[in-house]
């Protein structure tokens, strides 16, 4: 604001000054002596002031320009830093999921290879069953698409990108995450109970970021259930519209809950209770939720276990007049 005011004042002031400085020289221009001889002795003070004014103004302009550039650079670095951080944390998540990703890719690849081998053996026979070979080719195509779909999903998870806001159904993304997490939950003996509403839950936001937020919460919940008996190894995961215009995502575990001391620090960066944790999971979830104009909070459920709930604005969908428009930041 200050900068704008200074910018407005300087041109006005300079016009006035120029008028005073040039005024006398124009008035005396019709004297007898030649101009060259008279200019310096008569007008040198005006000339000096004039030059000084020009220099000062020039310096001021340069300084303001520099300041503006520094500001915008700072903003850019901050935004880049946030993108970097999100990217890094996505890479961590991909690391945790690597076993399940490898499984998901190797499964179709194995089928493709074996199918191709089988077809080769069949065609080498004197009387090959061409119908069978056609079936094999169709299956190879299907598995090729399946593998490339997995690769696409992993790519969207690790890609370095700027957040992009679109309108989408949060439940679709939630189901995709469940597929990704299911093998890990299975191997750890954790049951994930889901509670999705029958209607679509439209939000306006970045699906990749929100996927990351939900993934972090689920992986966190699973870590909390480590070494607990089967009766406690449960997670409830729900995404619903409790009120028009509001979307609630809840991840609740049935573990031992959050110790009182940790609750204040939960969302601070580099605060961790895990041996190999970085302490970035929950801060990232919070930054994503706040980025979408929402809020997150954690509490202990009255029946035991920790509960994380984040709330973001729902998107306005034509035909659903009772849903107010979501206004992301």
């Amino acid at each position: 604001m200050k900068q704008a005011r200074v910018n407005a004042i300087t041109p006005a002031a300079s016009v006035v000054l120029w008028f005073f400085i040039l005024g006398p020289s124009i008035a005396t221009a019709d004297g007898e002596a030649p101009l060259e001889g008279r200019f310096w002795p008569v007008e040198h003070w005006q000339a000096i002031v004039l030059i000084a004014m020009v220099v000062v103004q020039g310096l001021l302009i340069v300084a303001l320009l520099l300041k503006r550039r520094l500001c915008s650079e700072g903003r850019n670095t901050m935004a880049e830093g946030r993108v970097e951080l999100l990217h890094a944390s996505r890479l961590t998540v991909v690391g945790q999921l690597s076993a399940s990703i490898a499984h998901e890719i190797n499964q179709p690849l194995g089928a493709i290879l074996s199918n191709a081998d089988a077809a080769e053996l069949m065609l080498a026979k004197a009387d090959p069953d061409l119908d069978e070979v056609r079936l094999i080719l169709a299956d190879i195509r299907k598995d090729g698409l399946r593998a490339s779909e997995v690769v696409r999903q992993v790519r969207t998870l690790v890609q370095k990108r700027k957040p992009k806001f679109i309108e989408f159904d949060l439940q679709v993304v939630a189901r995709e995450i469940l597929q990704l997490v299911a093998p890990i939950a299975e191997s750890r003996g954790v049951t994930i109970l889901t509670e999705f509403s029958s209607e679509a839950v439209h939000v306006r936001g970045d699906p990749v970021l929100l996927r990351q937020a939900m993934l972090n919460l689920l992986l966190n919940a699973m870590d909390a259930l480590m070494d607990l008996p089967e009766s406690q190894a449960k997670i409830k995961f729900s995404a619903a519209l409790p009120q028009p215009g509001r979307v609630d995502v809840v991840v609740r575990d049935y573990g031992n809950g959050l110790p009182e001391l940790q609750r204040d620090n939960l969302f601070s960066a580099f605060f961790t209770t895990k041996e190999h944790g970085l302490g970035l999971g929950l801060p990232i979830v919070r930054s994503i939720v706040e980025f979408h104009g929402g809020r997150i909070h954690a509490e202990n459920h009255s029946d035991g276990g920790a509960l994380f709930r984040f709330t973001i604005p729902a998107a306005y969908v034509a035909g659903e007049a009772n849903h107010s428009a979501g206004e992301p930041v």
Binding site: S98, A99, A102, H103, E104, I105, N106, Q107, P108, L109, G110, A111, I112, L113, S114, N115, D117, A118, A119, L121, M122, E132, I136, D139, K142, D143, R146, A182, P183, E186, S187
Partner: protein
């Protein structure tokens, strides 16, 4: 004697697409194949007793895992040799599988030669095992068919004692011992004394 032609490869994998592909490949290579969608499916539908081997997926969500099924089956007398197949194997997993008696530990995607070699090795192992078992059962049956006195003579003879020593111990004459010995050889269908010693070793008789 069982051969590869009579053996069945039991393919257990939760992924239908891969299961079908493996069945086609093994079928095209001239093997009999049966497929199962998981450990439960296998336990319900497997007809025990036949020769063959199991091609077992390690990670099967929604049921016992491959190693769990393997360990459960290993308790049985008619257990089939197992070839493991995994989407993401690591060294510890492979070592654990081999230690628990698996024939091979392959990673997906698996090459045809590796897969067929492993499956054939497993079948060959099963055939050899079955043959050895049949032979042992036969020997046991022959041994059980010996009279108590013949058993006694058999034990003493194979322990390296002379006929007359045995005759003295049993309070009879050498001629009777010779007759018993001949009877034992006859019941085991052998002609040479050295084979009798081999049988004794096999039956673990001292």
């Amino acid at each position: 004697m069982t051969t590869e032609m009579q053996a069945t490869v039991h393919v257990i994998d939760d992924d239908e697409s891969l299961r079908t592909a493996l069945a086609r490949l093994l079928g095209a290579a001239g093997l009999n194949v049966r497929t199962y969608s998981g450990a439960g499916d296998f336990l319900l539908n497997w007809q025990a007793g036949g020769a063959g081997c199991i091609l077992l997926d390690v990670d099967m969500p929604g049921g016992p895992s491959g190693p769990e099924l393997h360990n459960a089956l290993a308790q049985r007398d008619d257990a089939l040799p197992v070839v493991f197949l995994t989407g993401h194997g690591d060294i510890s997993m492979g070592v654990a599988a081999i230690k628990s008696g698996a024939v091979d530990f392959l990673t997906k995607p698996v090459e045809r030669e590796c897969l067929l070699a492993a499956v054939r090795a497993a079948i060959a192992q099963n055939c050899a095992d079955r043959e050895a078992q049949a032979k042992e059962r036969e020997l046991q049956a022959s041994y059980q068919s010996l009279s108590p006195r013949e058993k006694e003579v058999f034990v003493q003879v194979t322990a390296g004692r002379l006929n007359k020593q045995i005759a003295y111990d049993l309070g009879t004459c050498e001629r009777t011992i010779k007759a018993h010995r001949a009877k034992v050889m006859e019941k085991f269908h052998i002609h040479q004394f050295v084979d009798l010693i081999k049988i004794a070793t096999r039956l673990n008789i001292e």
